[in-house]
Symmetry: C2
Subunit: 460 residues, 2 copies
């Protein structure tokens, strides 16, 4: 038969392009990086749990240990690193005898993939937080929680931003970003401690949890606005107003449209007969909303959060919740570990004299983070018997939402190494300090509710 | 207080690096691409299901429609495309007013991310296939199934490779790869049709299913060997023997070591207290095995498959199966849709005269694919009453495993466009033809088993 030369022409064994040649090694690098990330997150999370701290803190510290601060296993080029700084890349080089150029190309590609996986992780995290936030509950939390939330967002934000600009001469945009990172409240940590000391259903507990949920929503709007300011690099009053309005309209609009879309979603899901009939439409919607938020220059996570709020209202909620869990389990740790890995805590090493000033800023942030939330207790009015200190202390931990700020700030190039490290130290310490402080604050005023528990334990 | 100039020095609003600047747009592109992939896979899969074909075929065809053959929504640079060829990139360009260079960089990064996600998809697919393959069942299928499987691998492989080399003068490596793509048998499609016509528990059905399972294992070993040959570009007898031995040793070794590791895995999982306690250790193991297989120059999917076989034997199997499903649901379609999207079926358009020869090759592959499997029925001995035609026909569909060959072949640069398109057409047609052929083959010999069913239906 005829010699089909067109079968040969585009194909040559020797002339494979660099991309095709490097592709399997990029995959090798990604696989190895994921293995390191998972081990770091699980070891960190489990140890953290053993000493009664939230697992997410352990995942972050696990990331710090495998990252630029210590083992150099997970190194991302955003921080100015090159392939030679990564132990994983050195190992791949040993295994495959790569040229320095190939090594650099593979390092860039692999890091790009890990960064996007981390961003998908935070998108899925916010989608899940949205799914867990009950809109109906949110409408019921009442005026006290609302005031506490608003005060708890504005005071740390104002004090932090103004303080950084006037006392430390930090430029406006990074100062605003760091101030914004002070606004978050971690509902997970607080509610866990409250339930442990039997205070979740108390008046104080209800206000704290309600305010923390509102804080999440306000915090995400603040983040969307601040991150968008960071992109343009200019602080224009009209732009700020436009951004606040567009973020609010996006969120409220999504929720209102969602009341209609809810039914369409359930009707659609019920007609599907193939695998992934709930999870694929849900993720299509979440990613589409994330894309839309991104396209109108807000943050992708705002869209994912809105999608979560909308789908939370459907009848398919329980099924969806269950299926999102394993997906979040394998994607979210990539975000927390890389946030920790990117943070160079070496810049806060007190032995080096130049670092002292950075440490002062970190201490300042920590102080503002604590004071800015503790004062919120005194914003509650009409309830003279309430434990104001406990409410304020309950708002202290920053947890995962604070890390989302740090992660996005670094990725967008707004935060320099010192400010990033200072924020991460602030998140770690507020989260460390809140549980014992909260126990103390509740013990001072009313030791009664715990007695039953102590009795139960002594009997068992 | 002092002016902390180090806070300013690494930070400048104007001097953001191109990577940092492009990063949010890469994410936007990835999100939009994933939305398109999910919609294509779900629409394709659901339509396919409605006409009684396997959903995976619809996902593939959905990919063809959104890919280079038609809509140009999903375009990957491996096929020599540039940013301007992608409708999604044109849309992003409109949205963000990108420079041509920025557009090309974003296109490359985004495609790299989607390619790795597709590879993670096929790794998770093989992990899941491994979890579903029961080793104990495999040991019981008996000698008939084993012979059918071996004949069904060697005959199409030999005929295909030799035919392509002698009749069509295709070089050895792509010919071997295409030959290898002919060896797979899709257990999913066959067993579904068998259960529909009430023949799953018949002697023929048992042989077909047993042989298809063994085929999966043999096929993955063949793929590991062939893909490794493609990397070195040389066919050295010692190398081939080394690869066959190493692939077999890897798989058998993993299974044997797995019998020990099983207990360690369960013990470990039982001590974990934080979220993802089953799924994170399982994926760490799967990705580690995939990495190891890759590191010794075999295929990552061999490692993932071995990991699945090992974990299938644990007590945690059911829990794990359930949690792997949603993860596979969101990752596997990325693989199938991109395989379809990359295949340029335009090269087989019969209107263009130069394409005629490519069509002849596609027809040749289809013929060998059918004959090579149909003959297997006559390799069963000692069972004179058996329906030999039905067994042979039951082995015809290539399904997902055939697509894995096509996908990996293209990614490694071995297959040119025509050969890739020919393989994909072969996979599509064998999968289309097998169900009606199988119904015919069973009807010819023994119509009895169906009568009960028909009666049941007429009564209900």
């Amino acid at each position: 038969m005829t010699n089909l030369s067109f079968f040969l022409s585009p194909f040559s064994l020797l002339a494979t392009t660099p991309e095709t040649e490097n592709a399997p090694i990029v995959l090798t690098g990604v696989l190895l990086t994921l293995v390191v990330i998972y081990i770091a997150s699980k070891v960190g999370g489990e140890l953290s749990k053993r000493v009664n701290l939230p697992p997410v803190l352990g995942e972050l510290i696990g990331g710090v240990i495998v990252g630029v601060s210590a083992l150099h296993l997970i190194v991302l080029p955003e921080a100015g690193a090159s392939a030679g700084d990564s132990v994983i890349m050195q190992f791949l080089q040993m295994l495959n005898h790569l040229t320095p150029e190939a090594m650099e190309t593979i390092f860039q590609s692999q890091s790009e993939v890990i960064s996007v996986l981390a961003e998908l992780g935070v998108i899925v995290l916010l989608f899940e937080i949205g799914l867990e936030s009950d809109l109906q509950e949110l409408q019921k939390v009442g005026i006290s929680a609302m005031i506490v939330a608003v005060v708890g967002v504005t005071v740390p934000f104002g004090l932090g931003t103004v303080g950084l600009m006037t006392l430390f001469h930090v430029p406006a945009i990074p100062a605003i970003f760091a101030g914004a990172a002070l606004t978050a409240t971690s509902i997970g940590i607080t509610s866990k401690v409250l339930s442990e000391i039997g205070q979740l259903k108390s008046k104080e507990g209800q206000i704290i949890v309600g305010a923390a949920v509102i804080d999440d929503v306000l915090g995400i709007i603040v983040l969307a606005v601040v991150a968008s300011l960071a992109k343009t690099g200019e602080i224009d009053v009209f732009n700020v107003i436009y951004l606040i309005i567009s973020a609010t309209v996006f969120l409220v609009g999504a929720i209102l449209l969602g009341k209609v879309f809810n039914k369409t979603f359930v009707a659609l899901v019920e007609r599907l007969q193939t695998r992934g009939q709930t999870v694929i439409p849900a993720f299509t919607f979440a990613f589409l909303m994330a894309f839309l938020a991104n396209a109108i220059h807000l943050e992708a996570i705002l869209g994912a959060f809105a999608a979560g709020l909308v789908l939370d209202e459907t009848e398919r909620r329980k099924e969806l919740d269950q299926q999102v869990i394993p997906i979040a389990d394998i994607l979210v740790p990539i975000f927390f570990v890389t946030v920790g890995a990117k943070a160079d805590l070496g810049v806060l090493n007190p032995v080096i004299p130049e670092n002292r000033e950075g440490l002062i800023i970190a201490s300042f942030l920590l102080l503002v983070a604590i004071i800015g939330k503790v004062v919120t207790g005194w914003s509650v009015f009409g309830q003279p018997q309430i434990n104001r200190l406990a409410i304020g202390v309950g708002m202290i931990p920053r947890g995962e939402v604070g890390l989302v700020f740090a992660g996005i700030g670094t990725a967008s190039g707004v935060l320099n190494k010192s400010l990033e490290a200072a924020i991460i130290i602030m998140v770690i310490l507020t989260t460390f300090l809140a549980p014992p402080f909260l126990r103390l604050a509740f013990k001072e005023s009313e030791p009664t509710p715990e007695r039953g528990e102590v009795l139960d334990k002594s009997l068992s």
